[in-house]
């Protein structure tokens, strides 16, 4: 029972991160109908930004500012840095292809992902780096409920993820920007005909989606310690699975999908075999697509034929 609960907590932690990445995937897919393969790599870049912030403020062993402040700076810089990077990628790589055949931006996205991964390899080397989180955030901080440990990093991940998702939901439902985003997603030309600034709306969508991936990167660095230039590929793939399982285009769906994938992973690692985790996730994806292609919460878009 105890192990079961602990596995659940671990799964939810990973799941929150997948959910954050999945949201960005989902938003970009919604507005451009583009599978942004580079999205997972943005998460990786976020993790590196967090790492260098720690180094900048004295390294994990001698952090020169209060830890909460350090964490805030890490999250903020990763969000802004990766957000701007995402916008730049959109401007540079995807915007020229707005009206191109669908395959063109997909191939571009592969190229962008490849460039990002190898750029980080060139600049920072291919070896694995460690956040060394335990040296500045004690494992014993946090809470223990009935013998189940939830450490403070996990608490932070839960809190921040849910706050961001709630904020995003409000943004999309209530604000003019959110309505413009939905309008552009539903019919770009019609939105343009109303005077909505389509370029700016899409750029901001990329900013928000990428920023969330950047934050997820920082938090995964804190939670799992290990980062390298290749962590983006699999994380991106699983996050996309989460988005699809939950129903692409739906915020709540991405969240549920992310949590579900996280739980599946941690349970299969604990109870089946860690080697087959990816295959199990893959199996879930295939099953979802075959049984309910629109995902758990997704709705079939009204398609004009």
């Amino acid at each position: 029972m105890h192990e079961l609960l602990q596995t659940t907590v671990n799964g939810l932690t990973t799941g929150c991160l997948y959910a954050l990445i999945a949201l960005g995937y989902s938003m970009v897919y919604g507005i451009l109908k583009l599978l942004n393969f580079a999205h997972g790599d943005l998460y990786m870049v976020g993790a590196y930004i967090g790492y260098f912030v720690i180094q900048w403020f004295g390294g994990p062993n001698a952090v020169s500012i209060p830890v909460p402040l350090l964490l805030a700076i890490m999250v903020l810089l990763a969000a802004v840095g990766v957000g701007v990077l995402g916008m730049a990628i959109e401007r540079f790589a995807y915007r020229p292809l707005r009206d191109a055949p669908r395959i063109a931006p997909l191939i571009t996205a592969l190229g962008v992902s490849f460039v990002l991964e190898n750029t980080v390899l060139l600049l920072f080397g291919g070896f694995t780096r460690s956040y060394s989180t335990p040296t500045f955030i004690s494992f014993n901080s946090g809470i223990t409920l009935d013998g189940v440990r939830i450490d403070s990093v996990e608490l932070m991940i839960f809190g921040l993820s849910f706050a961001m998702m709630y904020g995003l939901h409000q943004l999309v439902q209530r604000t003019t920007l959110g309505k413009s985003m939905r309008a552009v997603a539903s019919d770009r030309e019609a939105a343009e005909m109303l005077g909505i600034n389509v370029d700016r709306t899409i750029a901001l969508t990329f900013f928000i989606g990428s920023a969330m991936a950047g934050v997820a990167g920082v938090m995964s660095g804190l939670a799992f310690n290990q980062i390298s230039n290749t962590i983006g590929f699999l994380a991106g793939l699983k996050a996309f699975t989460a988005a699809v399982v939950g129903g692409i285009g739906s915020i709540a769906g991405s969240m549920i999908g992310g949590l579900l994938i996280g739980l599946c992973e941690s349970f299969s690692a604990s109870y089946v075999s860690s080697e087959y985790t990816d295959l199990i996730v893959f199996g879930i994806l295939i099953a979802t697509m075959l049984l309910r292609p629109t995902g758990i919460l997704g709705q079939k878009a009204l398609q004009k034929v």
Partner: protein, 234 residues
């Protein structure tokens, strides 16, 4: 002169669609643009709105050269369009669709504008929280008109307002267009239903293969032999 196109030539990719096209719409006028399939009618509207840029010629709006203006600036300058096939945002509510029509407008007069649209189309008030995609064709046309009016246009562009509507709805639709026109909004309407369009229009142009081949007062065009043979089935 509210709108004038001066010698406009527009390309789509490598294809020349409009060639040396000139037309004018005066303040408060209702002008219709007739023509067969692929004669360049919709491209004309897109050129006016700024969705495509002409390779040559000028687009003048209320005395200003707007040829290089982006779309939002033109809309803020008094243009609005009811697009072909209405193009509503089906997954959003009627109210949200109307709000998006006013996206460039000052929030101060939003309530006043929406009240005006509701008084013109009382049905939309009943259906305000319904998803636009679930409305009937006639109601969707109302939303499209209302959405365009939310932008407080001085010139309303209409792309085939009767397309896909039943004859009874077409009648109703043209009554509404007339009503909007009588409220002082100038209208440039693209239409295939020539008789109906000319019956409410002040003036008309006939477009063929990207060139204006005929223009004149609506009453005169209605009596034009060649035109009758081509479009009016007489």
């Amino acid at each position: 002169m509210l709108l004038s196109l001066e010698d406009v030539t527009t390309y789509y990719g490598p294809m020349r669609i409009l060639e040396g096209m000139s037309l004018q719409v005066d303040e408060g006028e209702l002008v219709c643009l007739l023509g067969g399939n692929a004669s360049g009618k919709s491209t004309t509207l897109k050129t006016i709105l700024g969705l495509v840029r002409p390779r040559a010629g000028r687009v003048m709006l209320a005395g200003e050269d707007v040829t290089r203006w982006p779309v939002p600036r033109r809309i803020a300058g008094g243009l609005a369009i009811v697009p072909e096939n209405r193009r509503l945002f089906g997954q959003m509510t009627v109210r949200e669709n109307l709000e998006l029509g006013a996206v460039l407008q000052d929030h101060g007069h939003f309530d006043e504008d929406i009240a005006r649209v509701h008084s013109l189309f009382p049905r939309l008030q009943e259906r305000r929280d319904q998803l636009a995609g679930t409305l009937s064709g006639g109601e969707q046309q109302m939303v499209a008109m209302g959405r365009a009016l939310m932008a407080r246009p001085r010139l309303l562009l209409m792309d085939e307002p009767s397309m896909g509507l039943s004859p009874a709805l077409v009648q109703q639709n043209f009554r509404i267009i007339k009503e909007v026109h009588e409220a002082g909004v100038a209208i440039l309407m693209v239409e295939q239903n020539a008789t109906m369009a000319l019956s409410i229009a002040d003036r008309g142009y006939v477009l063929s293969t990207g060139e204006i081949v005929l223009e004149g007062p609506a009453s005169e065009l209605l009596g034009h032999d060649e035109l009758k043979r081509a479009y009016l089935g007489a």
